[in-house]
């Protein structure tokens, strides 16, 4: 720790780097190489934000854990900057409904989290296994009917999380493709401002109508129980439902498709997994670490002036944590760039860290385990139908993944 403050002050003399976004050609699973270079010099370095402001970038594992666990780094939206340029107009923060607890600090955040946590405990999630299996089997039936080859993104990776999330929340199944589309638009860094506002408004309108309907006729799904059993207001319920829907879709979809692509490109790991199905749980954690699909953020803002790990942090400083960089830190994970199902180490921070750590992590793991297992079992000869170099990736998205994955069997 002795050299870090020197490194930080030396870095102030040269122009601070920008947030790296370009992955190396032929390495679709590896974060942009600049992250490793930055981490080797200083795990928490100065960074230039898109419009010239200077803030911080965290690339080291321990540093990332420390930042995300420290409530002096606030999650409130005021003063937050995106590490990458977001095209279009900024969303009007005052127009957002209350209840969007991802942008809150304790104790406000704690109240919402406590009302929701009961639906995402280990026990509650295990009870959903049969339901998830039924959904996955139905999706695989559809793949078989469509016949080889298919685009795994459209036929597998999108429908499974969409169906699981809409069933869990109690949203109408017939609108799930619209939900899926609108959430995608909101997560894309290349959507126009008009597109984002259109999707935001449509989602908001649909969810508000749904909250009103559940108020009139309560149901026994998650949203229905929040309506009946809590004192949450309708705008709060809208905000909560929005967060849960958004959180449940993009991340899981991209883990599903990118994970299968990674299995194809690591045949020895795939063979080990096929030979020993009990390897699935550690394999899912290793894929979560290796792929760390949330590639932009989380972002925090310093709520006060303080010294942090030998650095002087000033109130208002914006801090971006790179989860892919942290999860490839060789100081924490030996041979960190290797996909190794024998690693048996679930200490990664692909779900974040601190009080905002993904509430649905048990559900995400279960979905991934059930979906990968059933896919490999149903199609013993499953393979990539196009050259790997041609698989289009999603660099300009908050969540990394593949745009299409043509598979054959």
């Amino acid at each position: 720790m002795t050299n870090t403050s020197e490194a930080a002050s030396a870095a102030d003399d040269v122009e601070a780097p920008r947030f790296p976004t370009s992955r190396r050609t032929g390495c679709p699973f590896d974060p942009p190489p600049e992250f490793a270079d930055l981490r080797a010099v200083d795990p928490m370095t100065r960074m230039t934000y898109p419009y010239g402001q200077i803030g911080w970038l965290v690339t080291g594992f321990e540093m990332a854990r420390a930042v995300l666990s420290d409530v002096r780094f606030s999650s409130l939206p005021e003063g937050k900057l995106s590490p990458v340029k977001v095209p279009g107009t900024e969303l009007d923060l005052d127009a957002l409904p209350p209840g969007m607890f991802v942008n809150m600090d304790p104790p406000q955040h704690t109240r919402y989290r406590r009302l929701l946590n009961g639906h995402f405990t280990v026990r509650r999630v295990r009870l959903m296994e049969t339901q998830i299996r039924t959904i996955v089997d139905g999706v695989l039936d559809g793949m078989e009917r469509a016949g080889s080859p298919v685009d795994l993104v459209e036929e597998f990776a999108k429908p499974i999380p969409t169906m699981v999330t809409t069933e869990l929340l109690g949203l109408p199944l017939d609108q799930r493709e619209q939900f899926q589309h609108d959430v995608s638009v909101l997560f894309s860094l290349s959507s126009s401002g008009e597109e984002m506002i259109e999707s935001m408004n449509r989602l908001g309108g649909t969810l508000a109508a749904l909250v009103a309907a559940k108020r009139a006729a309560p149901t026994d799904d998650l949203l229905g129980s929040l309506v009946s059993d809590t004192d949450l207001t309708d705008p709060e319920l809208l905000g909560i439902t929005f967060v849960l829907l958004v959180a449940g879709l993009e991340t899981t979809t991209n883990m599903l498709a990118l994970g299968v692509f990674a299995l194809f490109q690591h045949p020895e790991q795939l063979a080990a997994l096929r030979a020993d199905p009990t390897l699935m749980a550690p394999a899912v954690d290793e894929l979560l670490r290796f792929l760390s699909v949330v590639q932009v953020g989380p972002v925090r803002v310093a709520a006060e002036d303080f010294e942090f790990e030998g650095r002087q942090v000033t109130k208002g400083d914006v801090v971006t944590v790179s989860l892919p960089a942290a999860n490839r830190d060789p100081d924490r994970f030996p041979d960190a760039d290797a996909l190794d199902f024998d690693r048996r180490d679930s200490g990664h921070i692909a779900f974040g860290r601190g009080v905002h750590q993904c509430m649905g992590h048990h559900l995400a793991r279960l979905e991934l385990e059930v979906a990968y297992s059933a896919l490999l079992e149903r199609f013993p000869e499953l393979r990539l139908a196009t050259p790997a170099e041609g698989v289009p990736t999603r660099e300009m998205m908050v969540t990394y993944g593949v745009q299409r994955l043509e598979v054959a069997w």
Partner: protein, 67 residues
């Protein structure tokens, strides 16, 4: 050696990571998902699991003392 575990229900964010690591020692409250300590002094052979659970707790709500 005696292992003593302390949990801080106020800090707990209900992630349930500890329940996966050491289900014999930790459980979750069904209402709000917060930690329920089942065994304040777990046996030595659980030491590795409870230390891991404390390390992985996203809110830092678990303290393990060994003496």
């Amino acid at each position: 050696m005696v292992i003593t575990i302390q949990v801080d229900e106020d800090r707990c964010c209900g992630a349930g990571t500890c329940v996966l690591r050491a289900p014999e020692v930790f459980d979750q409250n069904e209402i709000d998902g917060t930690v329920v300590l089942l065994d304040e002094h777990p046996a030595d052979d659980r030491a590795a699991a409870v230390v891991e659970a404390a390390d992985m707790c996203p809110a830092g709500a678990i303290k393990v003392r060994r003496e």
